[in-house]
């Protein structure tokens, strides 16, 4: 099973480097990188610290420590994705409200301009 742990370690490192690189290039905002970096760090630690995997597997009643690691990895990514879904939903709501308000303000501004430019309205 060792190669599998090595693959997870490499994957974790790639994830961390990729996210840090994206943050540096301002593709991801710092606050949204934290969840991914934490998930990557946890996976890296677990893939290298086999004793800890053993403890967790025993605690979960799982005989295979790699399955315990895979479960933790899956759970970590589900949590990250759920947090992002929450954030996206909030941003979409804000975006819709903002778009509606901008449209209404533009509409009222145009109406006001027309009123000002019409001599009969003065």
């Amino acid at each position: 099973m060792d190669p599998l742990f090595d693959i997870v370690a490499i994957f974790s490192l790639v994830l961390i480097v990729w996210v840090l690189s994206s943050v540096r290039r301002a593709h991801i905002r710092v606050e949204y990188s934290v969840s991914w970096l934490l998930a990557g760090a946890v996976l890296l630690v677990l893939s290298r610290w086999r004793t800890l995997d053993g403890w967790i597997a025993a605690g979960l009643g799982i005989s295979d420590s790699f399955i315990a690691l895979a479960m933790i990895a899956g759970a970590a990514f589900l949590v990250v994705l759920y947090r992002l879904s929450l954030r996206i939903s909030g941003l979409k709501d804000s975006s819709i409200t903002l778009a509606q308000q901008v449209a209404i303000l533009e509409f009222r501004l145009e109406a006001l301009n027309e009123k000002i430019q019409t001599p009969a309205a003065r």
Partner: protein
């Protein structure tokens, strides 16, 4: 300048949501003007990439232009918000594709003015002509009829109709809370949550004048799941069921 805010006592606004309807929207606006002269017409342009906005203006409507595409619910809600802010008492929504016959607007308005309900649905199945409905849509309507009956506690014959009139009470509600993607069915459940009433009146429906429906056969399954989930979530929000 013709005042956008109507000076008559009814304070009715005709709301036409439109997305890429350059081939139909002008004709719809002219028909509405013929059916209810002197009534302000607001076309809400959901960031069309064609000349929908220009066609609507040329035909004599005012246009509320959204800065980016919001989908039907967001588009209609923007119109409701503006109408509510401007103090309209009644808003009747007519689709921009020409499927609704503007000659039925007085029927919807009369039902609203009776004061027995907060929303009026122009229905193609109440002595109307539902024959212009595709088989897929007809099947969906049958399904949603059966699903909504126990939730609403009464039958609804045309739950997907977009020919809808609301009074100021419903306008206030929908300005604040309105389903954003496929709004017609969920709006009924939102209405029921607040114990508001609706009635259906017979209206004529026609084939769309131009363009294509946004709900294609492929999207139908997504539509069904989306609406079912939306209805389920709204049912969970019920404070107290109507006795």
């Amino acid at each position: 300048m013709t005042p956008f805010v109507n000076q008559n006592e009814k304070r009715l606004l005709i709301l036409i949501p439109a997305f890429n309807e350059e081939g139909a929207v002008g004709g719809v606006v002219r028909e509405v003007r013929g059916a209810v002269p002197e009534t302000p017409i607001l076309v809400v342009d959901d960031c069309s990439v064609d000349s929908t906005r220009g066609e609507a203006i040329v035909a004599g409507a005012k246009v509320l232009a959204l800065p980016h595409h919001l989908g039907l619910g967001g588009c209609v809600q923007a119109g409701y918000r503006l109408a509510y802010e401007l103090g309209y008492d009644y808003v009747i929504r007519v689709d921009g594709d020409g499927q609704h016959d503007p000659r039925d607007i007085p029927t919807v308005l009369n039902a609203l003015e009776q004061g027995d309900c907060e929303m009026v649905i122009g229905s193609r199945f109440v002595d109307g002509n539902g024959t212009h409905t595709s088989w897929l849509r007809a099947a969906g309507i049958l399904f949603f009829r059966a699903m909504l009956r126990p939730i609403l506690g009464r039958p609804v014959r045309d739950p997907t109709s977009g020919f809808v009139g609301v009074n100021r009470t419903a306008l206030e509600l929908f300005s604040a809370t309105f389903p954003l993607e496929y709004p017609e069915i969920e709006a009924l459940v939102v209405l029921q949550r607040k114990r508001f009433r609706f009635v259906e009146v017979p209206c004529r429906f026609r084939p769309r004048r131009a363009g294509q429906s946004t709900i294609t056969a492929v999207k139908s399954l997504y539509y069904m799941i989306h609406v079912l989930l939306g209805v389920f979530v709204n049912v969970l929000k019920f404070d107290t069921r109507r006795k």
